[in-house]
Symmetry: D2
Subunit: 330 residues, 4 copies
C-alpha cells in the first residue's frame, strides 16, 4: 500500500506516518517525487487497515499497489528514476553507451579499446574481471588484477567503469573499483547476492536472466531496493527460445513493458543476445528506436584473439559505425 | 548447385545449360540477376557431377548451395528481390505500410478505416475475410462478401489489398480479389496450400509460424518458389516463448538473419506479436530501425467493438502517431 | 451450456429440448452417457437464458460449461470416450500399440515390418503415404500407391491401418483405405482440414502441434467434433523447447492434464519426440506408466536405409524389447 | 584426455602417471573403476601430447574425452556412481524416496510429516530452511532453527535429511546438519557456490535449472567435481516452456539422456514441475518407469495451510497412494 501525502505536507507529517506504519509492524519506505511524496508500506501480508493513516495530518489518500513488486513499481513512483554516475545521467534523454571487451585481458588491450570507444562516444567502459563461465576449465577472468587495470582505464580516459560481481567476496572488491556494479543474468535469482547489492554505495546494473519473465526481473530488482539501494539499472540481454538464428532472442518488447511497469531505466545488451557480431548494429539501432536508455556492447581490438566471446565482439571500426547508425534516431 | 553464366552469355547458351540439366534428370530454374544469370539445379539428392556443365559455352563456374533451401537463398541470387504491386515497390528503400482491421466487418467500417490509413501514408489495405480462429465458435469472417467489400475499398481509395487464404477453395476466390495473398502463420507448414500458392499470379505474403525457425520459414518459401511463383514477401510476427509480457515475442533479429540468408523482402507485424496496442508503436519503430521492408499493422475505427483482436488494434489517432514516429528513422 | 436430462427422461423429451434450443438460434448436440443424457448448446456468444429450458419436462438442471471447448470437455461428458476399430477398443484398459515405418516405401518393406510388429503385439499398422516434409525436395511418400500397399498389409496380417491425410483431396482417398485417419502436428490448426475431418466416417487421430497448448489441442478437436465426428484420438508427440537432448520435449504431463479436461483418449508418439531410437523404449514405458491409452511407434526393418526418420525408427528386435518392457507396467 | 591403466597396473604406476601429468602443467584426477583405473587430465586447452604417457609402465591406452565435461562423463568412468548415505544407496536398484514439506514450519509439522512418509517407505526427509523465494516479502524459511528441527527429525525417525544451501554462509551451517546438501535450480549456475560445494564432506543434490540444457547441468556438476567432491546426485525438476498445463514441463527424456552421458545418479522432482498435486502421482510413476534413481516429493500434513507451495504438496494419504503406485513398476 502507498500512503500519498498532500503537496504541502511537511517533513514532520511524513515522519509521523512512517512511525505509525512501523507501529503497525510493517516497514515504511519514503518515495519522494517531483509532484508528491508518498510512503510505501512493505512487509504486509494481505490488506492493510488504513483508516488510522487516512486520518493523519498531511495524508491525501492511500493507494493499493496491485503488483507483487512495490518499490520498483511505477504505481509507487510516477517519475522515472534517473541514475547519476559522475557527470552522466542514465534514464532520461540521450542513450548511454557502455562498451568494451567481454573480459579484461591486459592493460594494453583494455586501454587501447577504451580510448577507441571513448573517441566515438562511449562514456562507460565495460570489462569483465570475475567471469561466470559455463565450463570450470574456461578462462575465468583476471580477478582483482583486472579491476586494477580498469582503475587505470578510468584515470587515463575519464570513462566510468561497469564490471560484474558474482559472489559476496568479490562484491566487496568490485565495489571499491567500479562505478556501476553488474549482477549478471545467471545470478539474477541469486537472492543472497541481490540482498548484498542492496547495501552497496554504487548503482547496480541488473541483467535479466535468459529465463526470466519481466515480473521476475522486477522482483529481483525489488530484492535490491528493499534493502536500501535505489540506484538500479535494468538490462535486457535476450531470452532462451527455440529460435536458433541467434544465441538468445532479444526481447525488445521488454523495453515498453518495463517502462510501463517500473520507474527504473532499462538498457539493452545486443551482443550477448545475438552471439554474432553481424547482428549487433541492427539490433542496437532497434533497441534505441524502441526506447532503451542505453546500450551495453562488446568491442574488442582483435575479436579473433579474444579469450571469451570473440564471435560477438565488434571490431573497432564497427563500433564507430554503430555510433553513427544510432545517431540517426531521434 | 548453381551454374553461373558469364556476363556475356547469351540466351541460347542459357537454354543449352537448362536442357543439359534436365537431361541429367534434375529441374533447372534460371535466376536472372543484375550482374549475371545463373541456373539453379534442384531435385538432386547428394552432389551433382558438374564436369560436363563446366565445359559448356557461356558457363563461368558452378557453386555448391550450402543451405537446404536453394531458390530463396541469397547464395543463388545476390540481388534483393523487389516485389511490384501496381506502383508500389516492396523490398527496397521506403518501408511499405499495410494497415487495416483484423477482420472486415462491414463496408462502412472498411472504407472508414481505409480512408484514414491512406490519408496518413498506408498504401496497402489489410483485412481478413477468411479468418483462421482458435475456436470454431468465434467469428470466422465474412468470406467472399468481405472480399467484395475490399474490392470496393480499392476502387474508392486506390489502396491495394492484402488478405488471407486458408485452403485450396478460398485461395481461388482470394486470388480474384486480392493484390497480395496472405498465407497465415498457422498455415506456414500447410505444404499443400504452399504448393498451390506457387501457381497463383499474385505475390504471396508468407507469415512465419510462431513456432518456426528462420530455416523452416525459408523452406516454406522454397515450397512456393519451387512451384514457380517468385513473388514472395516474408513476415515476422512473433514467436512463442515463455515470456508473458506480450502474446508472442517479436524476434527482430530475424530481420538481419533473413536479409543475410535470403534475397526476399521481409516485413514485420507488430500487432499480432504484441497482442496489446500499447506496444505497437515502439515495436514498429524498432522494426523499421532494424531494417524491415514494411509493416503490417492492425487499425480499427472502434477497437473496443472489434469482432476480433480488438486489444491489439490501434485507434485511428494512434496510427497517425505511428506514421510520424517511423518517419523519424533513416 | 449443458442441459442435463433426468435419468428417466425419454427420447421425446430430449427432442423437445433440442427443438427449443434451435428455436433460440443455437445448435444442440445430444451427449448420451452411461448415467444421464445431456444436450450441449453451442454457437452462443455470452450466457444463455435458461429459464424456459429448466421448466421443460425431463430436464434436471443446466450447467455452465466453463471451458472454451464444449463437446470435447469432460464437463459435458463424464464417461471416457471409447473408440472402436474392428475388434479393438481404444480408451479403456489395455494400451493399443500402433507401429510401423515413418513412410511406406515398398510392399515388401511394409509387409515385412507389419508381420513383425503384429507378432509382438501391435494391432494397428502405421505408415505414411502422404508425407508433410520440411523440404520440397525430400521424399514425399508414395501417395495412393502407398495406401494400396497398406490395404494389402491389412488383408495379409489383419492389422488395422492408420495413415495421414494432409489436404482436402488426399483426405477423400485416405478415407477409403484407412481405418484411422491421422491429422499431423503441422496441420493441427489447419481449420479447413479439421472441418472436413468432422465429416469423415472413420476415427481421427489428431496429433498435438509441437507449439500448441493443451487448450489449443482441445479446441482443434472441438473443430472436428462440432462438425459431427465424435471419434477422435488425441496424440502427444513432443513440444518445441530450448532443450536439445531430444528433437522435441515429450510432455508426459499432458496425459493427466487431458484426462482431466476431456473425455477423449490420448496416446503418445515417443519416436517423433525423441528423434533418437535410444530413448524410445524408456519414453514408451514412461508414457504407459503415466496413463496413456496407447503408443504410436516407428519401426523399420532397416533404419539406416529408411527414406525418412531413420534415426528414430526402432530395429525390429528393439520393438520386441519395447513390448516386453511395457508389459511390466500395470 | 583419459589415461587408461592396465588391469594389473599397481598404485606406484598410477602415481607415476599422475606426476608426469602434473609435470606437463595439467591436473590429474584418478578415476578408479570396477574394471580398470584411469587418470583424467583436466585443465588443458586443446589436445595433449601423449607419447610420453603411452610409453609409461602400466599404461594401456589414452582416450580423447569428446565432451566439454570430463570428470562427470561416462566416457571417463564406465561404472555408474553409487552414492551412500548411511545404509542407503542411491544410483542402483530400488528408487530412493525423499519426501517432506517445501519448508519446515514447526517441529510438530516436521515430525508429523516425517513419521508418515517413513511409515510408507521414504528414507530421506526433505525440508527447506533457507528458501530462495521470488519475492523478498515471502516467507524465507526458519533458517538455522529449521535445521535444528530437522536434526530432531533424524534422531526421532531415523530418516536422513536433505536441505538446501543458497550461499557461502548458510552452506557452512547446512553442512553441519544435512546428510545431503541441495543446490537449487536457481543456483545451478552460481559458480561460486558450486565451487564451495566441491569442498564439502557431504553428497550434493544438484537440481537442473528450469532453463538449462543437459550439457549445462553436467557442466555445473563438473564445477563441483573438479573441486574434489565426487558425491553428486542430479535432479530433473521441469523446464520452462510455453506449455501452461503445468508450472514447468517435466523433461523425462533427461533421464535416459543423462544415464547415457554421465555416470551420476539422477532423480526426479515431480512436485515443482507440476505445480499441481493432481499430476504428482502419474508423473512419479512415469519417472520411475523411465529409469529415475529416486524421487523428491513434497508432502504436507495440511497443504491448504502450507507457508509455501501448498498447491503442489501431496496430502499424507496421497503419498501412501504414490508409494503403492510406484511399487507396481519393475
Amino acid at each position: 500500500m502507498l500512503v500519498v501525502m498532500k503537496t504541502d505536507a511537511n517533513e514532520e507529517q511524513v515522519q509521523a506516518v512512517i512511525q505509525e506504519i512501523e507501529k503497525m509492524g510493517y516497514r515504511a519506505v519514503p518515495m519522494p517525487g517531483a509532484q508528491r511524496t508518498a510512503v510505501c508500506i512493505i512487509g504486509n501480508e494481505g490488506p492493510v487497515e488504513d483508516s488510522r493513516l487516512l486520518s493523519m495530518d498531511g495524508v491525501k489518500e492511500t493507494i493499493r499497489v496491485t503488483r507483487q513488486y512495490k518499490l520498483v513499481s511505477r504505481e509507487t513512483r510516477l517519475d522515472s528514476t534517473l541514475i547519476t554516475v559522475g557527470d552522466i545521467k542514465i534514464g532520461v534523454g540521450k542513450p548511454v553507451i557502455m562498451a568494451g571487451p567481454c573480459a579484461v585481458e591486459s592493460e594494453d588491450q583494455a586501454i587501447n579499446i577504451a580510448r577507441h570507444v571513448k573517441e566515438h562516444g562511449a562514456t562507460i567502459f565495460r570489462g569483465g574481471a570475475f567471469k561466470p563461465r559455463t565450463s570450470p576449465y574456461s578462462f575465468q577472468g583476471l580477478g582483482e588484477k583486472g579491476l586494477k587495470i580498469m582503475d587505470k582505464v578510468r584515470r587515463e580516459t575519464g570513462l566510468y567503469i561497469v564490471t560484474e560481481a558474482t559472489d559476496s567476496e568479490n562484491l566487496k572488491i568490485v565495489e571499491q573499483y567500479a562505478d556501476i556494479i553488474q549482477i549478471g543474468a545467471r545470478n539474477m535469482q541469486n537472492y543472497s547476492l541481490l540482498k548484498l547489492a542492496g547495501h552497496v554505495s554504487k548503482p547496480v546494473l541488473l541483467k535479466r536472466s535468459f529465463a526470466a519473465t519481466i515480473d521476475e526481473l522486477l522482483m529481483a530488482a525489488e530484492y535490491i531496493m528493499s534493502e536500501g539501494n535505489t540506484q538500479i539499472i535494468l538490462c535486457e540481454r535476450g531470452i532462451r527460445t527455440f529460435a536458433d538464428n541467434t544465441r538468445n532472442t532479444l526481447d525488445l518488447s521488454a523495453i515498453p513493458a518495463i517502462k510501463e511497469a517500473s520507474h527504473l531505466p532499462i538498457i539493452v545488451d545486443p551482443s550477448h543476445a545475438a552471439g554474432k557480431r553481424e547482428y549487433v548494429i541492427p539490433l542496437s539501432k532497434g533497441a534505441i528506436a524502441v526506447g532503451a536508455d542505453g546500450l551495453l556492447v562488446e568491442v574488442h581490438n582483435e575479436p579473433s584473439q579474444a579469450l571469451s566471446d570473440g564471435p560477438q565482439s565488434l571490431y573497432p571500426h564497427q563500433f564507430k559505425e554503430l555510433m553513427k547508425v544510432i545517431g540517426q534516431i531521434r
